[in-house]
Point group: C5
Chain length 321, copies 5
């Protein structure tokens, strides 16, 4: 589905274009075409391939989707894949944006992604000076938007981790804790898969030798790189923390069990003693003088209470009860 | 066993060849020979070595099999080993394809592999334009076919992992879960061993300095590289997830045990109390007034029921029962 | 908030400047301006951006904060971010210092940081010879101050680890131990995040090819690098030790549990035996000769005591009790 | 002890040499001397040092032994250390071979190694054409022999791992399983220490810039490298699998324990119920009408059997028994 | 404290020097000064700084101590820090040696180190030929001495590990085993911290581009490097083994616990059965024919013995007892 298609000259929007009008604007100095598609059909992609002369393998990747984030050069043009990550309740939704780029055009194809880029375009159009730097600036603006949206996602994971941490050191509820940790790690992995390959690729847009169209925008892409680096390090730290938390939770479970065992042992001992004594006075020997004694029964009860009470006190003191 | 042997010129199949006719077509411009063997005998390999002038060490590798995936240059020719991975029920079958390649010929030798390459040849022959790029394109087509078949295998492992994940957080059945996780990890390792060494080698076919025959096909091999990179990252993530799952499963087992212990403790306490009281009233003291009381017995029963009931209620409330 | 703003010539403080007076001193040979801000407002930053011609992205980073430690070149100027770490009781407080630097000026912007740099400035002013090396020396002095303050923080963590270690091998108190280990690891991670990215960046200030203003101060920055390297290695070792300690603590918990189980088993056996014998002599068979025997009861008690005593002795000897 | 000492010209054995005759053959074109020592005495080594002009440090290494596998250049000569690994029952025996090599000579010194190299020499002498490539080919032949002997050792470890794997998922025998896994890991580490450092060194014999005497034999050493790489990867995978197996085994032990606990809980419950009921009917209240009922006893027994049977059925159904 | 101070010419000791006489010998061709200090006071260091023109930062490092092992160039001079490790019973004592070095002098400053270097000096003086290579050879001799002393320390750790290994697979004593493993790992880490940073630095003394004074001694430093590499690899392997041992020990503890549980379950079952039967025959029903039977009691005892014996036999057979 075509979202928007416009030509820009010196950073200013000239006009809306029909797809067939695109070729008129290609190759003009200081101007470029910016086309946005959503969930493009094979026919739309084919049309675009024709207009812009896109490379067959890149178009196939954009069509099939499920690519890893990457930046590939095809001659003078680039093919970029980004992953968008959205929060849907506590689940992560992963989408893809494929971007075709040369000095003459930017084509974005968005798949399974909730995020639109209308606001990015609007903001760009408000800064014609910067937009006049051409498609490289558009790419920066798009990337910046995608990467900036990773941060709230990460923050959501971080705060989930903090909630779980509190649970870990509370008695009980470990079953749910383990599952939440496991699911959290899977989510962190999803985010990692969006960030890590991109981090590696973006480095090529601001290092020593960059494609010509990125000559004047290196500092912007270093900024993107920096954001990616930051979130990447944070995710790694989080994954490590989750591993530790799983370990620690296992320790807590074992400690819980140990305490339950101790309590069991203590009560079992108390009642076992009572039962054993009662059993002894329940024996049927004929000559058991205490049985005939008038105060035998209350004394026996007293003995039982004293012994059990003493055991209770001892166990209480040593922390078993 | 000889599967197919044909000469191609400008990407079009000329004729079926007998093995002895091969040498007539070697060295001709714009043409090459494509030979396919399956479970080749030493004699067949020797014959091929003679016809194509293959290097002794490469032939020995092809004959002995059990090589790791690799791409080796011998002067102007290449020797490539690929691993094919097939699903056989839930087991993985691993096979090998050895490929000898120069600008004049492609020779494939398939061992212990279910996958044939007849469909690859057929598809190539339908696109003479591309096939006219020579053996480099054939290698791409073969590699692409092998690598594309890794994806359904990986998907099968992924969906097995998902099944196991559900089991983990279900009570019971942990014994089977552990074993399945262990076997799954072994399978992931097998797949990893097919992918990882190849990933490293293929990089040499599309980087800065590539063998001459790959001059025009770098983008194809970058595509293969990209697929390998993607599946490699996914396998690594899966292996990491399996490790976490094993950890988590251990936690779940321990939690299960802890809950069993609690329940045991609770019931033991209830019955121990009943037994202790019954034991007391079963003592043979002569002077136990309650025994003679008319309503002694029902009252005793009531006391027992109340005490046990109260314990049951307390344990129920604290989640032990 | 403006803390201090002064011009220096040949390493000597000339005069306090008002912000508007800054531009008079820029570009003079052998002199530079040193401005210190704390929790700067957007207006202050904007003013500074104007005076010094700072890069928009750098100013944005300084304003938004939450950057990772880094050293970035913008043309002839540098933008540096450092993390300050302070101890607040047993918690770590993390602050940020952003430093803008060229051959003409040093501008420090301190956020959420308790540490001031007044003492750094004072010390610098006492050594005019060294201060005459210009902003590069000021940067060294600031970095040295920040990095030197990591050491007492690390020492505090180290001594906490030692306290925990003693707890681990003491019986009891494991619940608290696990939580402390977990929190300690998080703190070590915080410190790591201050140190590791900086270590990487500082290398660029004393390696083969450094920015021109650092030409004469490479040995100073190698010294900073060395300190960072040392603390980084120590943190890594500590994190590894914490992991081991968590493992080891789990073992200790399990051993504790095992010992509790043994003790439980032993006492249970002793009382079960007593109860079983008492039960037997409590049966109501008519013909039980020992019941009628005069010394039956004391003998029975003796038998019980002997059996239980023997069991106690055996369990004691085998370490179960 | 001198094993063999001979001169070769154009790949053919000329004559057996006495040690003093060695110097006559050094420096002749197309010929070299091949000396084999076993558990050499200091005097023999000193003699050799004199004859061949070996470097003092290399001779010291050969004498002291316990070197890591390595390839060191001393001017125009090389010093190579290989580890031989033999199976002795299920134990691994580790030996060392030190090789001194230049274009004029090969000197092998074998220590604590069962493997001889007589067969290597015999095979070399049968292929004079290849042997005429000089000491570089001899080195290849020796290395190939040593490395080829790693494979059966690895296979033995692999099949031991498979045996252990079966044990893991069998109930019982975990104590032995853990110890076997631990010992297996130690063996894998021993093999790893023979392979990994060599892998790194051999790369220098077939990469871009190799010592002159290896000019024509690069493909042979790439082959050795390839074998080393393969076994190295396999060992790494095995070590990872062993770690997983230890983890998994712990899970199995815990599951076993959990099942034992459940069974214990179930039987304890059944008998506790029986005992409690018997205890109640064993109380000495005067008014317990059921005691006087004629069919009281059989009914009581029936009640007990029914309750216990029902519990048994419930536990059986829920898998506790 | 000044230990020794002497001038050397052509490798021969000329005379003992007073500190003030040092400057007379600096700058002479073929001669150098070798000074040894122990626990130097700030005044001594200041004096040395003056005499040799040492760099301020290096002197500060030597004074403050607690440096990591390193090799730093200051213009034409070097500053080296080594860690000495001594065994003190089963504890490790860590000391530091700071070495200042140029083509004219060697200055060693030893702190908290038991090891002296008098024997190193004596051995050097006995080999004037080698000593005539100047300070570079002295550095080699010192490093060689320090590194050679790591090996007995490592061997002590290794043999401690072997003792612990035996304990692991013995029943009991796990508490001590865990603590010893933990302490052993800490010791291995200490040794690692002496070796690893040095390994990295020494590489710069024998690689492609070395400081001029090391031109003729590269092979010596490669030898040191080789020793460091060997011990470094061994420590890594040991640390990995310790981790595995901790894991394995946890498994053994759990297995022990499992066996204790089984035994507990078995005895509990046996006595519970006896108690239940005794309880039944202890009920007070009026019509219990077996109670009146003459042989009732012995038969009951027999029944109990048979049942308990059968259970004992079953448990024994299944390994629970």
């Amino acid at each position: 589905m075509l979202i928007d298609c416009a030509a820009y000259e010196h950073g200013r929007r000239l006009s809306n274009l029909s797809i067939d009008g695109i070729s008129d604007y290609l190759g003009r100095p200081d101007s470029f075409v910016w086309v946005a598609l959503k969930d493009a059909t094979p026919e739309e992609l084919e049309k675009m391939q024709e207009e812009f002369g896109l490379h067959e393998l890149a178009v196939e990747d954009a069509h099939k989707g499920h690519q890893r984030p990457k930046i590939e050069e095809y001659g003078n043009s680039l093919f970029i894949v980004l992953h968008t990550i959205d929060l849907d309740g506590s689940e992560l939704l992963s989408g893809e944006v494929a971007i075709f780029l040369s000095k003459d055009y930017v084509l974005t194809v968005r798949n399974r992604s909730r995020q639109g880029f209308i606001d990015v375009r609007a903001r760009c159009e408000q800064e014609p000076e910067q937009l006049s730097q051409g498609p490289a600036f558009v790419l920066y603006a798009l990337m910046d938007a995608v990467v900036d949206r990773y941060f709230p996602v990460f923050d959501a994971l971080e705060s989930e981790l903090e909630t779980i941490e509190e649970q870990i050191f509370t008695v009980g509820a470990q079953r749910a804790t383990v599952e939440r940790l496991y699911q959290l790690k899977r989510k962190a992995t999803t985010l990692k898969h969006a960030v890590a390959p991109l981090l590696e690729s973006v480095g090529r847009l601001h290092g020593g030798r960059v494609p010509l169209i990125f000559a004047g925008t290196q500092e912007y892409f270093r900024d993107v790189s920096d954001h990616l680096y930051r979130i990447n390090t944070s995710i790694d730290a989080m994954r490590d923390t989750i591993n530790t938390a799983i370990q620690v939770n296992l320790s807590m479970v074992t400690i819980d069990e140990s305490e339950v065992n101790k309590r069991l042992a203590a009560w079992a001992a108390i009642f076992a003693v009572a039962t054993a004594f009662a059993g002894i006075w329940g024996m049927n020997f004929e000559h058991m003088p205490e049985l005939e004694w008038k105060y035998g029964y209350p004394t026996a009860l007293l003995v039982l209470v004293v012994i059990c009470g003493y055991l209770y006190y001892r166990f209480k003191k040593s922390g078993w009860l």
